[in-house]
Amino acid sequence: MPRWGMAVDLDRCTGCEACVTACHAENNIPTVGPEEAARGRAMHWIRVERYWEGEFPDVRLTFRPVFCQQCDNAPCEPVCPTYASYHTDEGLNAQVYNRCIGTRYCANACSYNVRFFNFHNPEWDRPLDLQLNPDVSVREVGVMEKCTFCIQRINAARIDARAETEEGRIEDGTLQPACAQSCTANALVFGDLDDADSRVSRLSRSPRGSKLLEELGAEPSVTYLQKGDWDESGGG
């Protein structure tokens, strides 16, 4: 049984936001328009946060892509009165849309602000709807949604793997969520954390690695690798 996780190399991330659009395209995330966006209702399962430090000209700006951290000890799960948010065997914080009754407790409990509520039924001006991915359900009004690590791709890869090999193992690197596949600087790496040789496992053990808001004890499955420093002797 794999345990899915992600490593985000902040030394590679350029803030280009290819991940953001790729996620919209893959997961049928609606655009809400300027009025709703102004009320804080824009939906981006993955976003790039930015942090300013200092004053001109000694000013720094750093980026951090943030999405559901697929916590092992997820605060969003126990608060759901209908068990719509639950933990899968593979370590994902899943959301069962047709169980969700829209209490939004999970969004309040989430420390990472990565859950998004459908305040309206989603609309696509026709024929934009022809682009919708048939592998992903469209969420209705009153339902909470969030990053799934592209569960539809995981499921498809599992079916392929079972057809191809005896033990049905998904080989490292054959499966990527939409964000990681598009990532222009190869900053997002996805894979099985229980496979010690997978790229994501190796990166997650990096001395540069840390978890987001680690002290909260949510035990995220996402490791952030901090920016390196330039060292003229060649290291870094």
Binding site: D9, D11, R12, T14, G15, C16, E17, A18, V20, T21, H24, A25, E26, T31, V32, P34, A37, A38, R39, G40, R41, A42, H44, R47, V48, E49, R50, W52, G54, E55, F56, P57, V59, L61, F63, A107, N108, N113, F117, D125, P127, L128, D129, L130, Q131, L132, N133, P134, A178, Q181, S182, T184, A185, N186, G228, D229, W230, E232, G234, G236
Partner: protein, 747 residues
């Protein structure tokens, strides 16, 4: 209406709607039989090339069947069709290596856009009013052919012009050949925020009239003078792939990245060292670095070769560029200049690159030549980890700006005395929107209004196609045969080709096929074997050497999505233009510093580029990464400047230059100099689909028509402005900081 009434009303209207549908068979949708054999529920993969910028990233298209509403023989119905569902970068493509940027991901919305022009249109209202009525292709083409025939009969074929964006496909050849056989001048290539200045500098320094390919992956030190290498400039995906490797791709080696600019860009945010130099002085800084290298004895002037000789004072060790002088001119501390020079020389292979604001100045060419000289001095040209030039494939070269520009064309039309016949009677427009993008002083809109007849191949109504008498809508890139030869981004020659990924959604035709059709109607002497555009594209590909395992490069290109040339050394340039060494001249700005205290720095938008992508809803709702703004325009002010002016975030401000004024909300931005303001391009469309029309302000409206004198390139960053606070707040929507549960804390 109370609840009871509401339930009653909906029950009645619902019932009557369904009854009505039952009673009227014409309201029921018929299911037509599909003629596309597609496996139900399974995805097939096809290939294409992203058309949104000149980089030419290879694309993999996921195609699945879906239901599409159509009208066949006057009957509405639905039919199963292969539909593009998702775009990915094409693995193995030498430019983007399986990756795709945010804009490329959104390119699919071009095809499915609700406001696409779905059939030929003829203008019914005033020019620019946007009033059009559908017309058949036969009628439309007959009308266009008649207008052109009249020109031929009058004996004045020079009254035809073709406006296009730069093209890197064989479509450019179709246009050029058509115009030549017709007897008309060469096409006018509209590339307002393009790189004409840099191409000229590269020609003078290195003998290549093209943009550089940056081998960032193998480099150890990269200095970018204003170039948005990770965002929008040149081949951003190729450069970002390289950047990832520069940083963490080699065990034990982590390259350094330095950005020089006056306003922090997305690219600048990623730098290890960010250096603020005054606009237009970047070349001075580059030569300050070169002088530090020479003075330390790390290199000698002869290492600079020809590129060095183009700089006055080079052989004497650049005495005029001492670090203290550099500090005075650029504002960069002398110690930093020395440090950058030393590091650049000691950490090769090193890359210096220049683009954007430093080139859009009255001394833009000199700035570029200075950076070229710095590269040459460090031995960075033509080596792995340095600056290279992609081998050029003759006959597959596209159309770049040369000769007549939109500025000279507009002037020649406007200079015609009233009552006289303007020099342009028929204008064809392909994928260019100069009415939106050119500075108002050029009068492009007024000039177009005087042209006898305009036909546009646009897929959308925009400010320029709204002036057209006929709109002959092109296919989207997913519906067309595409080919593309990248100018940069790959060390080996490459040419992409792909068949249509899906069948046309609407009644559109390929621009090149329309040109060939009109050519036949006019009996122009075009090659007889050019039946369709496919013949034109195939012809040149078949002359390329086929890769191993293939009989023809055309088949190989389609099978792999790209033909990659053999590993070959870059040919030596045959000859260099004869130019004299140049000396630094201070940049000149439109508007005096007293009356107009702020530099105005418009920048190519991460989401919309120059504005050509403002119609895509995913990009409108994409939070700009450095500001998190969506669906908006804004003016960036340094916090200190804002405090002095009494401006707070979201307040409406007026930006005024000697050429015009605009209003937009203020955004407090720590990464900009106190005496500069910046604004993204792309919004402020008057007519560009439901998503972009009437949204925000267009910074171009206040820009001076200043040009770089030697190349004629538009100096779009050479305008100075005043800022004034207005009453009230502007429409500024931001993603960051919005608390979902506290609508009272909006904005």
């Amino acid at each position: 209406m109370d609840r009871r009434q509401f339930v009653k009303a909906t029950a009645i209207s619902g019932a009557s709607a369904s009854l009505a549908a039952c009673g009227n068979p014409e309201e029921q949708l018929v299911r037509f039989i599909s003629d596309e054999p597609l496996p139900p529920g399974l995805a097939v993969t096809r290939r294409s090339v992203c058309p949104l910028c000149p980089a030419g990233c290879g694309v993999e298209v996921r195609v699945m069947e879906g239901d599409v509403e159509v009208v066949r023989d006057g009957v509405r119905g639905i039919v199963k069709k292969g539909l593009a569902k998702k775009l990915e970068g094409l693995p193995g493509h030498p430019v983007n290596r399986g990756r795709l940027c945010a804009r490329g991901q959104a390119a699919i919305q071009v095809t499915y856009h609700p406001d696409r022009v779905r059939q030929p249109l003829r203008r019914t209202g005033d020019r620019g009013s946007g009033a059009f009525a559908p017309v058949s292709w036969d009628e439309a083409l007959a009308e266009l052919a008649a207008r052109l025939e009249a020109l031929l009969q009058d004996g004045d074929p020079r009254g035809l012009r073709f406006l296009t964006r730069p093209l890197r496909s064989r479509r450019g050849v179709v246009i050029s050949e058509f115009l030549e056989r017709f007897g008309a001048p060469a096409p006018v290539v509209v590339d307002l925020f393009g790189d004409a200045v840099l191409r000229q500098a590269n020609l003078e320094s290195f003998g290549f009239h093209q943009l550089p390919t940056l081998d960032i992956a193998q480099s150890r030190y990269v200095v970018s003078f204003g170039a948005d290498i990770l965002g929008t400039w040149n081949s951003p995906v190729a450069q970002s792939v390289g950047y990832g490797e520069l940083r963490q791709g080699r065990p034990g080696i982590r390259g350094k990245f330095v950005q020089v600019e006056f306003r922090m860009s997305q690219t600048g945010a990623n730098s290890d060292q960010w250096v603020a130099a005054r606009p237009g002085t970047e070349g001075f800084l580059a030569l300050g670095m070169a002088r530090a290298i020479l003075a330390s004895g790390r290199r000698s002037p002869s290492d600079g070769g020809r590129a060095g000789e183009l700089i006055e004072g080079w052989s004497d060790g650049l005495q005029a560029y001492a670090a203290e002088a550099v500090e005075q001119v650029t504002g960069v501390p002398a110690a930093t200049v020395e440090q950058l020079g030393r590091e650049f020389a000691d950490n090769g292979p090193a890359i210096a690159v220049i683009a954007g604001v430093p080139l859009a100045q009255t001394n833009g060419l000199f700035n570029a030549l200075a950076v070229n000289a710095l590269n040459a001095l460090a031995g960075s040209v033509g080596v792995p980890g340095g600056v290279r030039f992609t081998p050029v494939l003759e006959g597959l070269r596209g159309l770049d700006a040369a000769g007549e520009t939109i500025e000279t064309l507009a002037r020649s039309i406007l200079e015609t005395p009233a009552g006289g016949a303007p020099p342009v009677d028929v204008l064809l427009v392909h994928d260019a929107n100069p009415v939106f993008g050119a500075p108002p002083a050029w009068g492009v809109g007024e000039a177009l209004a005087r042209v006898g007849f305009i036909a546009s191949f646009g897929s959308f109504q925009d400010e320029t196609s709204a002036m057209a008498d006929l709109i002959l809508p092109d296919h989207s890139f997913l519906e067309a045969l595409v080919d593309h030869v990248p100018e940069a981004g790959t060390a080996r020659a490459a040419a992409s080709a792909a068949r249509p990924a899906m069948r046309p959604l609407h009644d559109t035709r390929d621009m090149a096929d329309v040109m060939l059709d009109v050519g036949r109607r006019l009996a122009l002497d075009l090659p007889t074997e050019w039946e369709t555009y496919e013949d034109v594209a195939r012809e040149r590909f078949e002359a390329l050497p086929p890769p191993e395992g293939f009989d023809s490069a055309w088949i190989a290109a389609q099978a792999n999505g790209v033909w990659i040339g053999p590993e070959a050394p870059v040919p030596e340039p045959a000859s260099f233009p004869d130019v004299r060494p140049r000396a630094y001249a201070a940049p000149e700005f439109d508007g005096g510093a007293d009356a107009y205290p702020f530099h105005f720095l418009p920048y190519v938008s991460q989401a919309f580029l120059d504005g050509s992508l403002a119609h895509l809803p995913w990009l409108q709702e994409l939070p700009d990464v450095v500001t998190t703004a969506m669906w908006s325009s804004w003016v960036e002010l340094n916090p200190r400047t804002a405090a002095e002016l009494g401006v707070e975030a979201g307040d409406l401000v007026e930006v005024r230059s000697a050429h015009g004024a605009l209003q937009a909300p203020a955004l407090i931005f720590p990464g900009i100099a106190p005496d500069a303001v910046a604004m993204p391009m792309g919004q402020g469309h008057e007519n560009f689909t439901r998503y972009a029309t009437g949204r925000g302000a267009n910074p171009v409206r206040v820009l001076a028509p200043t040009v770089e004198p030697e190349t004629g390139g538009w100096a779009w960053a050479a305008t100075r402005v005043t800022i004034a606070r207005l009453e009230g707040a502007g429409d500024l929507v931001r993603f960051g900081g919005a608390l979902r549960e506290h609508p009272d804390l909006e904005r």
